[in-house]
Structures are given as structure tokens and as C-alpha cells.
């Protein structure tokens, strides 16, 4: 099993945060972490083998300030009992202190004692610059839409073609010359049939706030956790946006023919008065990427992994962009 190994996965449960840095919207990040924890718990309850196998959590590299607080939240929410700290002495000592100070008196199974393990950083790790990261993100999205070409594909195509390939071309370029595994399709979305949403609440810098007020004191935390309709604008071009599982799919209504689920009907089906809160705990069905915007007719042309209707009418906009 190579460590760069691959996951031929069943459907993962995904939440679309929409930024590449959790610090962009901490309440939203915490909201999704909490939701994910609940769903994982729910699944573990029904699967004894899975429950005994536990979970493995990989975190982001955000470990300072609010990032550290988020780590403590994750430990609590996922009932973590072993934390492995790689190559960071200060974080290790902070977490060790936290582990000893928060040691539970009773043997409560939902709150196990915390063990902190220190690991040296492997010599094989490579520093990735910001441009490396951008490139990798780009590649990831390309792979989502077009599929990953792999050496085994090359073997199949070579054996089927049985053509003599020049030894001068490298393996990498041969792999890149393979056809795409997936073919995404372009579809037009008439926006009057869809709820285009984004997490609201604009973070104002301190200088723009009234004198003597700070963002923390105002109701900004509530606003950040609110989904607001996203107006159609040219800013949406190339945006990678997530299609959420709608309540129409949840209730087993024919998912291939999306009916217009307005926010008010969502509220009715949810049974509580906050439809936006419901959508914030909704996971992602798939991703689409905006390729063209028709502002006059409110039509969004998107690249979709599969042809036909989207499975839901609720679309969540983030800040991730991708240019083909």
C-alpha cells in the first residue's frame, strides 16, 4: 500500500465551506465541523464494526490563535482520545497541558482521557509554496470534472493500442496525453428556478466600524452563519459552487425533476422557522463550475459532472475559482 495511495471511495459526506482558509469565516467552519461530527456519530451508532474502528481526523495546518481553539473544539466534538502532533513542540506542550488539565474525573465514554503523542516531521515532507498550493488546488478541481489519469490507464491504453511508443517521451507526458476519464457537460441554469445562496455577513475591518464598536460586540457572528440570496453578478464567473442536497431529495421526491423549492416551502418541510439553518447543515451533492453568465436573461451556464437536471435547487456559492 503506497502512502500516496488512493481512495476508491463510497460516497463521502462533504460540506462546502467555500474558502481555502478556515479563518475566513470561523463561525461557519465551526458550524460545519459540528454538523459533520453529528453525522459521523450517527453513522457510527448504526455500524458496530465502524464504531470499534473509530475515526481518523486530519486537520488543517491552522494552529495559531483561533486555529488552536478550533482544534480543542474538534477534540471535544469528535471525542478524540489520541492526538498526534507532527513537528511542532509548542503545540505539543499546549495540548499536553490541555490534556492534563481537562482530564475527566469519571470514566465517561463520551469524554475519553486525552493522550498526546509527539512525532518528528518526516524527512520526506516537502515545503509547498503558495503557488504550488494554487496549482494543486487547480489540479484537484480539474480531476473532479475530468477524472484523474493514472499509470494503470496508460497500461490499458497501451495494451489496447499495442502501438510502439517512443521511449523519448516521459511517463508523465504519456499519462497527460491520455483521454479524460470523465466528460463533464455544460448545462444552462435558469436562475428563477434555483436558490443561489451564499453565507452572508460581511466581515468589516475595524476601521470601518463605528467608533468604540468591534465586530465581536455586534451581531456579526449571527450574520456569518446566515445564508443570503446571492445576486447574479459578473463576480460569479469561474466560481466553483456546490449543489446541496435539497429537502426535495431528502423526502424521496423524484430527484431528477427538481421542483422549485422556495425558502418558504423549505421552512414548512423543516418544521422549524429557520430554513437557512437547515441548509447550513446540508451536505454537498456535487460541484458545478460557472463558465458563462447571462445577466440579461438570468441564465448561468455551468460545467456539471453529469448531464441533465441538478439533483436539487439549492446552490451554495463560495470563494473558490477555477479556470479551465
Amino acid at each position: 500500500m503506497p502512502c500516496q495511495g488512493n481512495f476508491e471511495m463510497a460516497t463521502p459526506l462533504m460540506y462546502y465551506f467555500g474558502h481555502t482558509n478556515p479563518a475566513e469565516n470561523i463561525p461557519l467552519y465551526k458550524n460545519y465541523i459540528t454538523n459533520l461530527a453529528q453525522k459521523v456519530d450517527l453513522r457510527q451508532e448504526h455500524d458496530l464494526n465502524s464504531l470499534s474502528s473509530g475515526i481518523i481526523v486530519s486537520t488543517s495546518g491552522w494552529i495559531d490563535g483561533p486555529g488552536y481553539d478550533t482544534l480543542l473544539d474538534v477534540i471535544r466534538l469528535y471525542s478524540i482520545d489520541v492526538v498526534i502532533v507532527i513537528g511542532h513542540d509548542r503545540l505539543y506542550s499546549l495540548l499536553s497541558t490541555h490534556a492534563t488539565s481537562s482530564a475527566p474525573a469519571s470514566s465517561d465514554p463520551s469524554n475519553p482521557p486525552l493522550t498526546v503523542v509527539k512525532l518528528p516531521k518526516s524527512g520526506g515532507t516537502v515545503y509547498r509554496s503558495d503557488s504550488d498550493r494554487r496549482r494543486l488546488r487547480r489540479t484537484k478541481i480539474t480531476e473532479y470534472f475530468y477524472g484523474k489519469r493514472s499509470p494503470s490507464d496508460l497500461m490499458t491504453s497501451l495494451s489496447s493500442l499495442s502501438s510502439a511508443t517512443s521511449t523519448a517521451t516521459s511517463l508523465q507526458s504519456q499519462i497527460e496525453s491520455l483521454p479524460n476519464r470523465y466528460s463533464p457537460s455544460r448545462i444552462d441554469l435558469s436562475l428563477k428556478n434555483y436558490n443561489l445562496l451564499k453565507p452572508g455577513g460581511i466581515q468589516l475591518p475595524q476601521s470601518m466600524m463605528p467608533l468604540g464598536q468591534s465586530m465581536e460586540k455586534t451581531s456579526s457572528a449571527i450574520n456569518e452563519l446566515k445564508l443570503v440570496p446571492c445576486p447574479l453578478s459578473i463576480d460569479l464567473e469561474h466560481a466553483v459552487i456546490a449543489v446541496l442536497h435539497g429537502t426535495n431529495t431528502l423526502h424521496g421526491v423524484n430527484a431528477t425533476a427538481p421542483t422549485l423549492v422556495t425558502l418558504s416551502t423549505l421552512a414548512e418541510s423543516a418544521g422549524d422557522g429557520d430554513p437557512l439553518q437547515l441548509l447550513l447543515s446540508t451536505n454537498v451533492a456535487g460541484f458545478i463550475c460557472v463558465v458563462k453568465i447571462d445577466l440579461e436573461h438570468d441564465i448561468l451556464t455551468v460545467l456539471s459532472p453529469c448531464p441533465g437536471h441538478l439533483p436539487s435547487t439549492n446552490i451554495l456559492v463560495g470563494a473558490i475559482k477555477w479556470v479551465e
Partner: protein, 77 residues
């Protein structure tokens, strides 16, 4: 849970641990909270996936078959 600064090998370690666990016929759930460069899907996401032996394929280096509008419902993994 695996924590550490950027580029310290967190994803790699979690993959190694997942591979060991599945070889012992365990079925752990892998949770990836890295929105920067997650393992499971496009950037900007957090997610979880249940793993078993079939998830690891030596032939293919890295391919993601993440939900192309699959009909999995919210609440299930």
C-alpha cells in the same frame, strides 16, 4: 486526530494509518477538516468517508470518485 503545521505530512500520516487499519479488517471513518487542500474532494470542503479494504487500490495512484451527484442522502455517509 493528527495536528501540525502546514506541509508536515498530516494527510500522508492519516492515509498510512487508514491503510493499516483497513488491513486489520477495521472500517474506520476518515475525517478531513483541511479546507485548503483536502484529500477527499475539491478545495474548500470538509468531509468524512467510511473506509474499508476496497478503498485502497494499489494500481491507481490517486483517483477520487467523489459524489457525482450520487443519490446519497444527508445523514448517511
Amino acid at each position: 486526530m493528527i495536528v501540525g503545521p502546514h506541509d508536515s505530512g498530516k494527510s500522508t500520516l492519516s492515509r498510512i494509518l487508514s491503510a493499516y487499519a483497513t488491513r486489520l479488517d477495521r472500517t474506520p471513518v476518515l475525517v478531513d477538516l483541511d479546507v485548503g487542500l483536502g484529500m477527499l474532494s475539491v478545495p474548500g470542503c470538509i468531509g468524512a468517508v467510511p473506509l474499508d479494504r476496497n478503498c485502497f487500490d494499489i494500481e491507481v495512484i490517486f483517483s477520487l470518485s467523489h459524489s457525482h451527484f450520487s443519490d446519497a442522502m444527508s445523514g448517511q455517509l
